[in-house]
Amino acid sequence: MKILVCITHVPDTTSKIQFTENNTKFDKTGVQFIIGPYDDYALARAVELRDQSEGSLTVLNVGEAETEPTLRKALAIGADEAIRINGFPSDSLFVATQIAHYAKEGGYDLILMGRESIDFNGGMVHGMVAEMLGMPSVSPVMKLDLEGDVAKIAREIEGGKEYLEVKLPFVAGCQEPIAEWKIPNMRGIMSARSKPLNVVEPVSDEAATETVGYELPPAKGAVKLIDKDNVEELVNLLQNEAKIL
C-alpha cells in the first residue's frame, strides 16, 4: 500500500486575519501556521492504514521553504518521507498540477487530502488532481475502510451520509470523524529529524486565477441585550426590526 497525503500550511484556526501593503498581502505577524485541520484527519487515517498494511506514507506540500516545519510535524505524526514542491501555492489549479505531476509516476494506491483548505476554502484540489490523473474522486469522506483493493466510504451529503465503494487507486478529500487526530510523541519528533524531506522544483507555473486584493468585512455593531423576562420584546424585534419571523 502506497499512500500520498497532501497537506496545506495554513494559519491556525484562532488567528486574527489581517492584511498589509494596502490590502494586497496576508499579514503573517503573530500568526501561527499549522497543518490544515482537514488534512490532519487525512493524515491520521493514512497513518492507520499504512500501519495495517505496512506500506509507505509520503506527505506532500506545495509551498515555499517556510512550510518545512509543518512537513516535519507530519513526519513526526507518522509519515515516512516528505516532499515539498517549491512554489507559492497561488491557486488551486497550480497546486493540483504540481501534485498530479508528482503523483503520476508514484504508483500511489491512495491519495488523501483534506476536504478543503481553511485559508481559501476552495475544496477543489482533490477533484482537480483526480481529473488530471484520470482517477475517481470522493469528497467529503468521513469514513474510509479498505477491503482488498476496494475502499468502503461514507461521504457526507447535505443532511446525511452516502455510502460508496470504489476500487483503488482514487483521490479522497477527508474530514472528521475519519480518524482521531494524532499528536506527535517524543519518539516521533526525534525520528522526524532523520526522515527524508525532499525539495522538488515545480513543473509549470500554470494558474488560471490571480488574487489581486483582500478586504475585511465591516465591524459588527454592538449586541442588543434583551431582558430575560421580556422575550416578547425579542420576538417583536425579530419580527419587525430584523423582519424574520
Binding site: P11, T13, T14, I17, P37, Y38, D91, S92, L93, A96, E116, D119, F120, N121, G122, M124, H126, G127, A130, E131, M132, P136, S137, V138, S139, I157, E158, G159, G160, K161, E162, Y163, L164, E165, V166, K167, A208, T209, E210, T211, V212, G213, Y214, E215, L216, P217, K220, G221, V223, K224, I226, K228, V231, E232, V235, L238, Q239, A242, I244, L245
Partner: protein, 321 residues
Amino acid sequence: MSILVYIEHAEGAIKKTSLEAVSYASALGEKEGKEVVAVALGAIEESALAKAGSAGAQKVLHVADKKLNDGVIQAHASAVGQAFEQSGADTLVLAKSSLGDAVAARLSVKLKAGLASNVVALPEENGGYKVRRSIYTGKAFTDTVITTANKILAVKKNAVPLKSDGADAGVEALEVALAESDFAAKITSTDKASDEISLPEADIVVSGGRGMKGPENWSLIEDLAKAMGAATGCSKPVSDSGWRPHHEHVGQTGVKVAPSLYVAVGISGAIQHLAGVNASKYILVINKDPEAPFFKAADYGIVGDAFEILPKLTEAVKAIK
C-alpha cells in the same frame, strides 16, 4: 454565448442553493447579454424543473438518465461538461455544495476553466474578470481575477438574492454519452434524515451547545425550532458526545450555515464554532454567562438560563404565528 447553471435537486425539487445560482446567473446574463441555460441530471418532473425559469433561466436541459439520480461525481462532471460544450457556454455557474465542489473541480480541468469558489458578488469586468470571494472561513474577502476564456463560478449560499419573478422555463431533453468509468465510485446506499429542514439550506437555525446539559433536553431546542420553522444544529462537543447526529454539528470542521437568523443556545462562541456561522444575517445568543464570547458576534442576546428562557420564547413565537 450562454451561461450554463448546474442545478441540483432533492426529493423532487430544485435545491434553494441552486435557485440562488440561477438567480446569480440571471443577473450576470443581463449584464453580459447572454442566455441563461440550466442543466439538471437524473429523474425529476419537468414541472419541477420549469421552476428554474422563475429564478431566471430561459431554458432547462434535462439529462433524464436515472443512473444520474445519485450524485456520482465523475458522471455528473462528465454530463455537465458535455452540456457546457453543446450549449455553447463560456461560463458555468453552480452552488457551492459538497457535490458542487467535487463536480466543479473536475470540470475546471476538463473545460480548462479558471474557477472561483465561494463567490459572493457579480464579476467586475473593467480591467479583467474580477470576482469577490469569501475566504478564511468568512473572516475576509478576496478579489480574484480569472484569466481563462472559460470560467466557473461557485456561488456561496445565501450570498445573492433569490429571484422569483420569471415565468416557467422550457425544458428540453439532452443526450450525453456516459462511460462506465464515470461510475467507478458506486453508491451502495444513503442514510438521510428526510423529514427535517435541511441544515445547510435553512433560513433559520436553532443550535444548542454543551449548556443544554444532555440529549434529554433537546426537545426545548426542537420546540423552538418547530415554532420558528427552523432547522436544528449543535456545537461540536454535542455531536462528539453523541447527543446529536454528526451532520448537525456546525462550525469550522462541521457544517457551515448562512441563515437569516442563527439562534445559539448554551454555546460559548469559540472561534471554530463562529467560523461556521459568521455568514448569518442575524445572530441571537442565549447564554447564562454574560462574558460568553458569542455575545460579541451577536445582534441580539439574552443573558439567562436556557431552561427558563426557551419555553417562554417558544410560546411567544407561537403567539405571533
